[in-house]
Structure formats: C-alpha cells, structure tokens
C-alpha cells in the first residue's frame, strides 16, 4: 500500500455528490413516498374483511419479504421492460433506464415492509375509534383518512423513519445493475484510478455520518412523540 491518497477524494468528491449522492437521495425519497402510499394501501387490504383481498395482499407481502433484495432488483430490472411493453401495447420490451427500474423496484419492495409497519399502526388504534367514525355517519374511506390513518402515522412515525434509513442504505445495492448511485460512482473512480482503499473507506464514512445523524434525529423525535402521547 502506497500511503492513503486523499488527493483522489479531493479530485472526485464533487462528482460523487453531484452524480452519485443525488441519485441515491432521489431514489430514497421516491421509494419512500411510493412505498409508504402503496404500503398503506396494502396494509388496508391485509386488514380487509373481504377474504380474497386480504389473501392477495398477504401473499404479495410475504413473497417480497422472503426473497433477497438483490434477487428482487434483478427480477424488476428484466421484468419492467416487459410490463411496460404490455401496458403501452408495444410488441417488444421497452427500454427502461437503471434509475426508473430501481425506483420501481424499491417502491414495490419497500411497500411490503412499510405495509407491516402500517398494519401494526392501524391495529394499535382502539376499535372504538372506528365504530365512532361509523356512528357519526362516515364511510370506510372517510373513517380511515380522517380518524385511523392520521393516528396510525403518528404512532408509527419513528419506525417508518428508521425503515427509511435502512432504505437509504439498501439503495446501494443498485450496484448490481451498474447504476451510478453514490457507491456506484465511487466504484467507477476507484477502478479507474485504482484507489479502492481510499474510495470505499470514504463511502463507508459518508454513509455512516448520514445514517448515524438521521438515526440520532429519529431517537430525539421518538422521545418527543412519547411525551405527547
């Protein structure tokens, strides 16, 4: 080893953040938003009294939770072009870039995990809340949107955010489809300049600082929410 070369980091950090980190953060925010929306719908389906609906949602969630994320990334990377062609009625698979493929993958995958959190959140609301909603003349959707879900969200906020920190870390797995996320950008520089030690150590430090900072914030939030409750 020829000494730690800070120069390579100095030369490349603008690229790493402008190309890589912006990809990682955009992907995280998109997948979080999509995952929570879709996950909440899945949770409502799982708790539905209509048997086929709850069975279908349960099967989806259990399937996603039993196979590795890497395999799911591969699945969607090849599947999305076919689904796109089917929706757009094109004869051949359409071209989908690594970013949109990853965005769809993580939304669909994280939805299963957010679903379980939201399901616990919904179940933590006393049944009386739902009954009083109905007694006031609200329908199912109104009761959910105005009474149950707002409370479930607040109760589950720390867990939802912790899941999002995990999502932020897991987006680095898009490396397997050669996307240029933060890790992918660093890997490109590392292999070009043969500076693997410096680049991967730098990546680890940046991920650590972001994740640790965010989880400290979540802990603080948890305390505040606990007091309000």
């Amino acid at each position: 080893m020829s000494g730690f070369d800070f120069d390579v980091i100095e030369r490349s950090w603008v690229y790493l953040f402008r190309e890589g980190m912006s990809f990682t953060l955009t992907l995280t925010v998109l997948a979080m938003t999509g995952g929570i929306v879709f996950g909440t719908l899945l949770a409502m389906m799982r708790l539905s009294s209509i048997k086929p609906v709850s069975v279908l949602a349960g099967a989806y969630v259990n399937l996603m939770r039993s196979i590795p994320l890497v395999l799911v990334i591969f699945w969607f990377f090849f599947l999305v072009p076919y689904i796109g062609a089917w929706i757009l009625r094109e004869p051949n698979p359409i071209k989908v870039g690594a970013f949109w493929s990853a965005a769809i993958t993580f939304t669909m995958f994280e939805a299963a995990y957010y679903c379980e959190i939201m399901r616990a959140g919904i179940q933590s609301i006393p049944r009386g809340q739902v009954w009083s909603g109905y007694a006031l003349g609200l329908d199912y959707w109104q009761t959910m949107a105005r009474i149950v879900l707002p409370q479930a969200f607040r109760n589950m906020l720390p867990v939802l955010l912790t899941q999002t920190i995990i999502l932020f870390q897991d987006t680095s797995l898009v490396y397997v489809i050669s996307a240029t996320d933060f890790l992918g950008a660093a890997a490109k520089v590392a292999n070009r300049d043969y500076r693997l030690v410096e680049m991967y150590s730098f990546v680890a430090v940046v991920y650590f600082i972001v994740s640790y900072g965010l989880s400290t914030l979540v802990k603080g939030l948890q305390k505040r929410i606990a007091i309000i409750k």
């Binding site: 080893m1 039993s66 699945w75 867990v159 897991d170 797995l173 150590s201 990546v203 991920y207």
Partner: protein
C-alpha cells in the same frame, strides 16, 4: 405478455459441464446455506457477548458495545463487503495481505463474506439479546444477588437462560435475514443461489426461468426454516412470558 417460457432449460447442461442448470442452482443453495450458517454461528457468539455486556453496570463497557453496534449498523452491507474484500487485505502487513488475496476461488470470497455477514448480523443479535435481558423483571437480578450469587453467576444461571428463550422468535427472523443477506456476497464473486441464477440467465438467456427457479428455492428454504423454528419455539417457550419482538421493527 410476450415471453415464451422454456422450462426444459433447467435440465440442460450448464456451460461449466458440472451438470444440469437445476443442479447448478442447488449447489448455489448449498453455498447460500454454508455462508448463512457459518455467519449465523459467528453472529450468535458475538451478538450474545456484546448484547450481554451492554446490560452490565460498567459504563465504559456499555459505551464500547454501543460504538460497535453503531459502526456496523450505519454502513450498508454491500459497502462492508467491499471493505472486508478489497480494503482489509491492503491495510494488512504485506505477507498477510497477499495471502488473503491469493486464497483459492470459492474461499477467497467465502471467508470475507462470512466474516462480514457474521459481524453485520451480530449487531442485530446484540440488540435482541439486550432487549431480551432488559425485558426481564429487575427482581430476577436482585433475587440472584440476594441468594448469594455473584454478578457473573446471576447472568449465567438466572438472566441468560430466560432471556435466550424469550428472544427466540425475533432470532428466527434474523436467521432468515442472514440467509437473504448472503446474496450480497455475489458482489464479491461468491456464486451462491442468486449469483448462480444471475449467471444462468447470462449463459442461457432464459431470464425468468432462472429467477423463478431461484425464487421458488428461496421460498421453500424459508418454509423449512419457519417450520423448524416454530417447533423449537414451542419446545423452549417460557410459560407465562410473552415474547418480545412483537412490536413492529424496521428491517430488510
């Protein structure tokens, strides 16, 4: 959808000539399990020690345990893989580093993968162990001390036997996680199940047959693990104690 299934591909010979593609995938499952089991043993050992130390009254020991947990929890698994595989050999003395780099093919990726997964998972085990110990009524510890046991004996005979039985259900899901997470080892060249499904797809161009087969194998493996652990849980359950880990947790 416009895809022509061709399931017979599973019975065709893979290019390496070791047998059919199906056999090729099953060997991959073998590597997945070999990686996961070795990492699991390591994770249980380290996790039990770190988790227990974090409940002791010694302030600096607790701090040290917290530091260990925070470091390995806040760096993505794939980055940790790269650190063990690419970075560590460079930081070692030259002889040792070269020896690590020149390990013959499966072991050169297998050993770093096991160490990486073992430590990554040990953090999660440590959290469960600590939660299990803290969930016991404090009277248990006091009663241990009051009957004349030392601190170490209290842990050995009173606290640990109970808490390990309590945390078995969350440990089951950690074991399933380590099986799934072992797929990340494909990025450092270990041909486990997902890696083999990927290379089968590259050799045969049968994308969905390869991934469907891998998915089905993962599902069957999960089923076996769940059934086995449920039997074990029924056997060691502590009557009258509710399992921790019922609270929803973030995971992947």
């Amino acid at each position: 959808m416009n895809y022509h299934w061709h399931w017979q591909v599973l019975l065709e010979t893979e290019p390496g000539g070791t047998g059919t593609y199906l056999h090729y995938l099953i060997v991959g499952l073998g590597w997945t399990l070999a990686t996961a089991l070795a990492a699991w043993v390591m994770a249980l050992a380290i996790g039990a020690i770190v988790g227990t130390l974090r409940t002791t009254p010694l302030k600096w020991v607790v701090r040290l345990g917290d530091l260990y947990v925070e470091i390995f929890r806040n760096v993505p698994l794939i980055v940790q893989m790269f650190l063990w595989f690419f970075v560590l050999p460079e930081l070692m003395p030259k002889g040792l580093g070269d020896w690590m780099k020149q390990m013959p093919p499966p072991w050169g990726s297998y050993v770093p993968a096991v160490v990486c997964l073992g430590i990554f998972t040990s953090v999660r085990v440590a959290e469960q162990v600590r939660a299990g110990i803290n969930s016991l009524p404090s009277g248990q510890r006091m009663a241990g001390i009051a009957t004349g046991l030392s601190e170490a004996q209290t842990y050995r005979y009173v606290i640990l036997p109970q808490s390990f039985r309590i945390i078995l259900p969350p440990l089951t899901s950690e074991f399933m996680n380590v099986i799934k997470n072992s797929s990340v080892a494909l990025t450092i060249g270990l041909l486990e199940l997902t890696g083999r499904a990927r290379s089968m797809q590259e050799f045969s161009f049968r994308v969905f047959e390869a991934f469907t087969a891998a998915t089905v194998i993962y599902l069957l493996t999960n089923l076996v693990v769940v059934l086995a652990m449920r039997a074990l849980e029924r056997k060691v359950r502590v009557p009258g104690l509710i399992a921790v880990g019922d609270a929803p947790q973030a995971g992947h």
